[in-house]
């Protein structure tokens, strides 16, 4: 079937199997490999993308369900050649180690800051609680999102 999705601002149309998962559409059909796969049960969250600005786990969304919608992946965080505040903050606060969960974590962080520019630590921890990290123990991820929030408020 024909699926048309605007990915990171660019309209894309592809003929795919009806059963194709959004994560495979993004990774294999479109070729954006910054979105990862870590489980089969919607548990780990490394496949998270933004669907019309809302975080979804792309391993449990069909590509067909994204037809006519906007998808943002990690490759779309940067705007006008400038890193997103969340991207800068993850580097500056050592918010990543192996980097496998990082694209998803940053997207969830960015989405949170869209609706709440001054989240508490608990609000951040709750927001990222659908995303697992095995390396960092989360403290520096929380710190990174706090730093990005502060940066956003300062502007």
């Amino acid at each position: 079937m024909e699926v048309s999705v605007t990915i990171n601002g660019t309209a894309q149309s592809h003929d795919v199997e009806a059963r194709q998962l959004l994560v495979d559409f993004v990774r294999s059909t479109v070729g954006l490999t910054g979105t990862h796969i870590g489980c089969d049960t919607t548990s780990c969250g490394v496949c998270t993308v933004l669907l019309d600005g809302v975080p979804v786990k792309a391993c449990t969304v069909l590509a067909a369900q994204a037809d006519g919608h906007e998808v943002t992946t990690v490759e779309g965080l940067k705007a006008d050649g400038e890193l997103h505040a969340v991207q800068k903050a993850f580097k500056e606060n050592h918010g990543l180690q192996c980097g496998f969960c990082t694209p998803a974590m940053m997207l969830v962080g960015a989405a949170l800051l869209e609706s709440n520019d001054d989240p508490t630590e608990d609000e951040i921890r709750w927001a990222i609680s659908g995303n697992l990290c095995r390396c960092t123990g989360y403290m520096n991820i929380v710190k990174s999102i706090q730093a990005a929030a502060a940066e956003g408020r300062a502007q």
């Binding site: 910054g34 796969i37 049960t41 890193l83 580097k91 050592h94 180690q97 990082t102």
Partner: protein, 786 residues
């Protein structure tokens, strides 16, 4: 903190001791990491594995007809086909054999039985599900006690000479001397505890893209590998391929934690398929593939005893372990040490006698026995001694902190040889524990705990003071599958003064591309931003045994220092030539070579690098490059004092961490920011295992914990906040005094969390709750004690 003043560098050079931001982050934060599943080659086929749904059964027949008929299926591979190429079985890292694809029996749920190669991963998975296997069911053996009983079915009936399920027996220490001390002891304290099976579960599963070119014979193998060079040699030995034609490329790894040390059956099948079909073949594990079939950790049933004198001094230790090895013995550990380095179980304490025994048993469970974020069974050892010590303190009515301070090895006793034969390099345990106690407010906390008890509230304070043994070699003692454990670094300085450093080890998130450049920056004064670090590609890096057991800094880090010093020696000669001075009069500091006494006469490392290619003195070869292979004279022994404060809800057994104060001494810290990040991660792993994360089996051998809904990994919501402290007693034998830290917190923290919960209910008489310390277990313990 830097090792020695001459390694000090300003921030713009960014050597040892600077919290330099990570070089690898730039690609990772933009989604430009290059992970295994991102590899896509022209004509690449996809593989899916059909696994056994049962734990123990004889195979009567395999029907692949329906699978083969699926449109897009290129081949279906069974054990029979593998056997025709002598590849139905493969050697394990511990000298056993493991089925690649089952031919005779299946021996655990999830075992590999057949594989489908197809043009599309969805099609491969569809077809794999259509394979029908006719099984003759056999009784499943799911625990080592059951396995070693006389009437247990023989699991490894194909193994010549194997008449029972015993894998090995192993011992360390002096049985007679230890027994003699126990016979005279004023008090003996005993603990039986189980360290359950756990899985490293890196968020990226294991995978391979095998690309064997049938014309050239070149095998390029993209592999999730923590040890690419060792894997190349093992591929050569197992598959019979000429080693010069094998290139292992381990790209960015999404975590490893020991899971990516072994060679798995899927790797062998995919490589054989690529060889036979002449096309690249990709195989990526699903999460359940990963959890049910690849390298587990722990599964140790332990009994420990401490002999004490009347004053509370430890006199001797006895430890006995029953290890559940699963169906194939594939521990990733040195071949002379069947129980890994478990004999470090004497811990941080000074006493003369110890005897440690271990038996391994086959069961109908997945093989593995990997060093899950620890150095070869160190975590189990550290857990047992720290739990025992805490119980001993209760039994003699002494505060657990005071008991430790009484029994610690003293600073003036280092280097200290333990009764099981380790020589600890350096340490100051008393200072470490006292500093952690001061930070947490230990004395006041004990008063608060007593007051809370009066109100019926259960507060607990748990201590663990661990000592690790990491960084293997020395190569004369330690090997993996016969490959001796040393490691390497190759350094080349280009004419413009920029450098490329190539490592025998392989990062999985530890930040080698930053920290190893920092070592060169300190040694030669080349700014860290001018140094590119290459690793994970066997065609382009020197030989080494890889990254696990906290060995990268102790071995390859040391090699990086040594090769830098080789280059510094040559650079000094060139500088002397440029400055028209005697070589002996040249000093090097932070990248500047100057003439002693007239420091205004100087050249920079960049000047020297240019001259190495354009203006060499007579008699010296051109270029500025070298390689070092470093064989450490000893292990290193990082240590730490962790104190956890919990509150237990007496009504429900639910416990919550109020404080986690972690003091680590890992010697010199190359990049403090990265060290702290590693400790955060390790403390979380320790919390995971103590609170929720385990793999168990039902009586039929069905794996409970086959996905992230059953195998619970802590999220940001449950994970405690950590307070970190440090001391620094450098390793005396490491060139920059570093000890390794990647696993310290995973090793040390489980006992701290569990001791804290026990401490909350110890006054009721509770002395043990096995991990994971689930709320119902705590509630049961309270109920049975009262």
């Amino acid at each position: 903190m830097t090792a020695t003043p001459d390694l000090a560098t300003p921030p713009e050079i960014g050597g040892i001791g600077h919290s330099v931001l990570r070089r690898e982050d730039d690609r990772l934060i933009e989604g430009q990491g290059d992970f295994l599943d991102d590899v896509a080659l022209p004509g690449m086929l996809h593989m899916a594995i059909h696994r056994s749904p049962v734990a123990h059964a004889r195979i009567r027949g395999i029907d692949t007809e329906a699978a083969s008929a699926v449109d897009g299926v290129v081949a279906v591979v069974t054990g029979e086909l593998m056997a025709a190429h002598n590849l139905a079985w493969m050697p394990t890292l511990s000298g056993d054999t493991q089925a690649v694809l089952a031919t005779d029996k299946v021996r655990y749920q999830g075992q590999e039985v057949a594989a489908v190669i197809a043009t599309d991963p969805y099609v491969a998975a569809d077809a794999a599900a259509l394979i029908e296997v006719d099984y003759d069911m056999l009784p499943a053996v799911t625990g080592p006690q059951q396995s070693l009983s006389a009437d247990a079915p023989l699991i490894r009936d194909e193994k010549e000479g194997q008449t029972d399920n015993l894998v090995y027996t192993w011992e360390s220490g002096d049985a007679e001397a230890t027994d003699a001390v126990f016979a005279e002891a004023a008090k003996v304290v005993t603990l039986e505890t189980f360290y359950p099976r756990s899985h490293p579960a890196p968020l990226e599963t294991c995978g391979i893209v095998a690309d064997v070119n049938s014309v050239t014979g070149q095998a390029t193998v993209y592999l999730t590998s923590q040890a690419p060079h060792a894997h190349r040699t093992l591929f050569a030995l197992v598959a019979g391929l000429p080693e010069q034609n094998i290139r292992i490329i381990s790209p960015d790894l999404g975590g490893g934690f020991g899971n990516k040390v072994p060679i798995y059956p899927g790797y062998v099948v995919a490589t054989a398929a690529s060889l036979l079909l002449g096309t690249p073949v990709k195989w990526i594990e699903s999460r359940s593939d990963n959890l049910i079939s690849t390298g587990f950790g722990r599964d140790y049933h332990m009994r420990g005893e401490l002999a004490l004198d009347a004053g509370g001094r430890i006199l001797a230790l006895r430890a006995d372990v029953l290890s559940d090895q699963g169906a194939f013995y594939s521990d990733a550990q040195p071949s002379n040490f069947r129980a890994g380095l478990f004999h470090v179980v004497t811990g941080s304490y000074d006493f003369a006698a110890a005897h440690v025994t271990c038996r391994g048993a086959f069961t109908n469970k997945a093989p593995g026995g990997v060093a899950y974020r620890c150095s070869f069974r160190i975590t189990e050892a550290s857990y047992l001694i720290e739990r025992l010590v805490q119980n001993a303190a209760y039994e003699i009515g002494m505060d657990p902190a005071d008991f430790r301070l009484l029994n610690f090895i003293r600073e003036d006793q280092f280097p200290y040889t333990t009764p099981t034969g380790f020589t600890y390099d350096s340490g100051d345990y008393h200072t470490a524990l006292r500093k952690a106690m001061d930070e947490v407010g230990y004395t006041e906390l004990r008063a608060t705990q007593a007051a809370a008890r009066e109100e019926g509230r259960l507060l607990g304070i748990g201590i663990a003071h661990f000592t690790e043994a990491v960084g293997a070699g020395p190569s004369r003692t330690y090997d993996i599958a016969g490959l001796k454990m040393f490691d390497s670094a190759e350094l080349r300085v280009h004419p413009t003064g920029k450098a490329i450093l190539k490592l025998g080890v392989k990062t999985q998130g530890q930040g080698h591309e930053t920290t190893f450049a920092q070592i060169v920056a300190s040694e030669l004064g080349i700014p860290v931003t001018d140094i590119k670090v290459v690793h994970g590609d066997t065609d382009n890096t020197p030989y080494g045994l890889g990254t696990y057991a906290s060995r990268s800094t102790p071995t390859s880090g040391a090699a990086t220092s040594m090769v830098s010093r080789k280059l510094a020696d040559k650079a000094r000669k060139i500088a002397a030539h440029l400055l028209e001075a005697a070589e002996a009069d040249i000093d090097l500091a932070a990248g500047v070579f100057s003439v002693r006494g007239t420091p205004e006469r100087s050249v920079t490392i960049q000047d020297v690098a240019f001259a190495a290619y354009t203006n060499m003195p007579e008699g010296l070869e051109h270029g500025l490059e070298g390689v070092s292979y470093y064989d450490p004279p000893n292990l290193t022994f990082p240590y730490g004092s962790y104190i956890v404060v919990v509150e237990v809800d007496a009504e429900t057994g639910v416990w919550k961490v109020d404080r986690m104060v972690a003091l680590d001494d890992c010697g010199v810290r190359i990049n403090p920011m990265i060290v702290e990040g590693q400790i955060h991660g390790g403390l979380t792993e320790g919390f995971a295992k103590s609170s929720m994360q385990w793999i168990t089996f039902d009586d039929d051998g069905n794996c409970i914990g086959a996905n992230f809904m059953d195998y619970l990994v802590p999220t940001a919501w449950e994970t405690p906040r950590f307070e970190l402290l440090e001391t620094c007693v450098p390793s005396p034998h490491h060139p920059i005094g570093a000890k390794g830290v990647g696993e310290s917190a995973t090793v040390g923290s489980p006992a701290a969390y569990v001791n804290a919960v026990i401490d909350a209910v110890a006054h009721l008489g509770v002395r043990n709750i096995d991990m994971p310390v689930l709320a119902d277990r705590v509630w049961d313990a309270i109920e049975s004690a009262s």
